[in-house]
């Protein structure tokens, strides 16, 4: 049993590492040999990576790289074809991992060990404490913001309501539970700057607010890991920077690990502690942002050229080339190439509506 990442990708071209990173010492979610096939299509191919506890981890990659599929596997919406996904509520959860896996149960609450690939989606959220948002926002549009956040606390409230029987006669325990739920909802509405609209229907909110509300709703489930699927998609620069602040708060103040899929490099590079890069369902790079940024494989994936050509491309800002998916060449105009060359520093919202499958 080691705490090393399963298949560590050496951070290339970076400075020699002095210390072990957080995701190498304290893992909250471990993905091992994850493979997901749809018919003949391999969306995720033997993917392994670790998410460090208390980190903001970004999953990036070109469109169709399989990022959203990884999320759907993690949160139980898809059953992976192969592989293991471990949620560790405590660092010690890994102690008896192999023995526990043999036991055939889905989770071991005493150890804080949850084998996500065995659990149905609602259990992953309720017991595994993994919350998520969706790429194409899924709010309860006809319900108010406050109601949305109350629904998120369903499992706590249903116990407080004595499985409805107590609640129907208005027992005090339920009233107390509901008050607490409203307090939590208010807390997150304030954090996401939505408190003024608490009594409006969610579908009435502008796009950016809906994204934040979805995060608030996920937070109201009191998760240990928060999975965000392109939270900055469609946001303007101001909203985007507010989002960064919010995510940092979630990490620093609440101590929650965040795993996010993002196309907006300004978000990724600014707030990530750890970046995992996918292309065609495989991991091509894994490390700290500054290491990943300069990884030729990553640049190649984003520019869509063969590895050997990276230097050439970097050198002469290409005019030629073609479309993604077709092969290795594509049209890259001067501006895009420029941006991509320094993939991080300036940052560009690359295809905000892109779909990671």
């Amino acid at each position: 049993m080691s705490l090393q990442p399963v298949s560590p990708t050496p951070a290339s071209a970076g400075a020699p590492r002095q210390t072990l990173r957080n995701w190498e010492t304290d893992v909250v979610v471990r993905v091992e040999h994850l493979t997901m096939r749809f018919g003949g299509l391999v969306a995720v191919d033997n993917l392994s990576f670790d998410v460090g506890r208390g980190d903001i981890t970004s999953l990036i990659g070109p469109n169709g790289a399989g990022k959203t599929t990884v999320f759907n596997c993690l949160t139980g919406f898809y059953k992976p074809t192969e592989g293991r996904m471990i949620m560790a509520h405590t660092p010690s959860a890994f102690a008896n991992l192999e023995a526990r896996t043999q036991e055939g149960r889905r989770y071991f609450a005493d150890d804080g060990l949850y084998l996500l690939e065995r659990m149905p989606d609602m259990e992953i959220a309720a017991i595994g404490k993994v919350a998520r948002t969706f790429q194409n926002i899924r709010l309860f549009g006809g319900m108010t913001l406050l109601e949305n956040l109350m629904v998120a606390q369903h499992n706590a409230l249903i116990v407080a309501s004595g499985y409805t029987f107590g609640g129907i006669f208005g027992l005090p325990s339920y009233r107390k539970g509901e008050r607490e739920a409203i307090e939590l909802a208010k807390y997150w509405l304030e954090k996401t700057n939505l408190i003024d609209r608490a009594d409006d229907p969610a579908a009435d909110l502008p796009y950016g607010d809906q994204r934040r509300l979805e995060i608030a709703r996920a937070m109201c489930t009191r998760p240990k890991v928060l999975c965000l699927d392109e939270p900055a998609a469609g946001l303007n620069p101001k909203e985007s920077s507010e989002l960064n602040t919010l995510l940092r708060q979630i990490r620093d103040d609440e101590g929650i690990s965040v795993l996010l899929i993002e196309h907006d490099m300004s978000v990724v590079m600014e707030i990530s502690d750890h970046v995992v890069v996918l292309d065609y369902g495989r991991k091509i790079s894994d490390g700290a942002p500054q290491d990943v940024r300069s990884d030729p494989k990553v640049i190649a994936a984003y520019l869509g050229v063969d590895d050997e050509e990276v230097d050439a491309v970097e050198a002469e800002v290409g005019q030629e080339t073609a479309e993604r998916g077709g092969g290795h060449v594509r049209v890259v105009d001067a501006e895009a190439a420029q941006t991509l060359k320094e993939i991080s520093s300036r940052g560009v919202a690359k295809d905000p509506k892109g779909d990671g499958r």
Binding site: R138, L146, I168, A198
Partner: protein
């Protein structure tokens, strides 16, 4: 055909355009009705005989053409004129806003109705109280189904099955075990809920429309079983002499020791009808109270969330199967109560009373009223059932008018009569949510 689709003519002479359209409509009506109306078949001595009814066809075509012409010229084609029914007819939505006063008002009327009726129309009081009982039965059924369809967004086309289970539970329990109404009422509800869970468990993970068709199938299965299981249910002949409810042990009979005798009143048949009226009123109000209460509890919010987005519910750790089952079972339970009441009111039940049409009427009440709206169910029941009774003198045309009414109201108000949603919890102020934002449940 093209003229029928023509956009409102701004420059073209609207009279000419309307005329063209009206003539086309008339010709179409002529074609449609020519055979099916013009040639009436009747069984005669040597098989079917034809009677021609061309005058009827001409009349119907003429009415169609003239009606269409008038509608065109006054509404559809007039520039700036109303575009659809919703622009012409009054907006019921306000009723949703003033329901704070309307609710208590209607409750007051409901509670005092028998006495109002006895004062206003003493000769026909029996008829009107009976009508009240009928309307309230549908209100209760509508409220019960509203939990399933309106709140949880599960399309149930076989709700009448639970109504039947309730009715037969009481009828059979009283027949075989000699139990009274008040003992059987809760049992009927429990049995119906039990059946709701049994039927619901396998089918609730189906997508919306599949769920609809399977519930329809189950409704039919229950009816067919009731029809054919002679030993138990007496088949199509039904069960007769189902005991009437008693008032704390007092029968509503002319005999000594009956209700009238005990209270020293002169015996009158209407006593029992009024008593039945208050039973169904109480049952309906209980249904309403429980529903309103449940809506504000986590379970009710989960139902509505389920209707809005099932996948999001699952991502929040809500057990969607249990949530759906609870809606199904509670809806079924109220259907069962109503069924037991129906049995005791009629004194006789047969599978005839539990056809698909009945399910369709209840569903229509819920949808026409406005999904999820308690007040809407009351309006829709009044319009549909009360209206249906008002058209009594139309005799055979009554059901036809009923069907047309269903179509017209739906086109007029696709979201139902009362189409706002009241939030279940609020911080500062309770703002009604416009129905356009509320999902009807896609039933993933």
């Amino acid at each position: 055909m093209a003229a029928l689709n023509a956009a409102p003519a701004a420059e073209e002479n609207i009279v000419v355009a309307s005329l063209k359209d009206a003539i086309l409509a008339g010709v179409l009506a002529l074609i449609l009705f020519s055979i099916i109306v013009g040639l009436r078949t009747d069984a005669g001595a040597g098989g079917l005989q034809i009677t021609t009814e061309w005058d009827r066809v001409l009349w119907m075509a003429a009415v169609t053409a003239v009606g269409r012409f008038l509608l065109n010229i006054f509404f559809w084609k007039r520039a700036g004129g109303p575009k659809g029914l919703s622009d012409v007819l009054p907006d019921f939505n306000r009723a949703g806003h003033v329901s704070r006063f309307l609710g208590p008002l209607m409750l007051g009327i409901a509670v005092t109705l028998p006495f109002i009726v006895m004062v206003l129309v003493p000769g026909q009081s029996r008829y009107y109280v009976d009508l009240g009982v009928l309307v309230l039965t549908y209100v209760m059924l509508g409220w019960g189904l509203n939990i399933v369809v309106g709140l949880a967004g599960l399309l149930d086309l076989g709700y009448v099955a639970f109504y039947a289970v309730g009715a037969y539970s009481y009828a059979l329990l009283s027949q075989y075990f000699d139990l009274g109404f008040w003992v059987c009422l809760p049992l009927a509800g429990i049995l119906a809920a039990f059946w709701g869970i049994i039927l619901g468990f396998p089918v609730l993970r189906l997508r919306g429309d599949y769920l609809a068709i399977v519930t329809l199938a189950f409704g039919e299965i229950i009816r067919i079983v009731l029809l054919n299981w002679f030993e138990l249910t007496n088949g199509p002949n039904g069960i007769t002499q189902i005991p009437r409810p008693t008032f704390f042990g007092l029968d509503f009979t002319r005999d000594e020791g009956g209700f009238a005798d005990f209270f020293g009143l002169e015996y009158a048949a209407i006593h029992r009808i009024i008593f039945l009226y208050y039973i169904i009123l109480a049952l309906a109000l209980i249904t309403n109270w429980v529903t309103l209460r449940l809506r504000k509890l986590p379970i009710g919010r989960a139902w509505e969330a389920l209707r809005e987005d099932e996948i999001a519910c699952r991502s929040l750790g809500i057990n969607t199967t249990n949530t759906k089952l609870s809606a199904f079972a509670i809806g079924a339970m109220f259907g069962g109560f109503a069924g037991a009441f129906f049995a005791t009111r009629q004194g006789f039940i047969s599978p005839e009373s539990f056809t698909f049409l009945e399910s369709a009427i209840i569903l229509a009440i819920v949808v026409l009223g406005g999904l999820g709206s308690q007040m809407g169910v009351v309006f829709a029941s009044l319009v549909m059932i009360g209206g249906f009774e008002m058209f009594r003198n139309l005799e055979e045309f009554r059901v036809l008018v009923f069907g047309l009414l269903m179509v017209l109201i739906m086109i007029w108000k696709p979201r139902g009569l009362v189409s706002t949603r009241n939030p279940t919890v609020f911080l500062k102020e309770r703002k009604a949510v416009s129905a356009d934002l509320v999902s009807q449940g896609e039933g993933h």
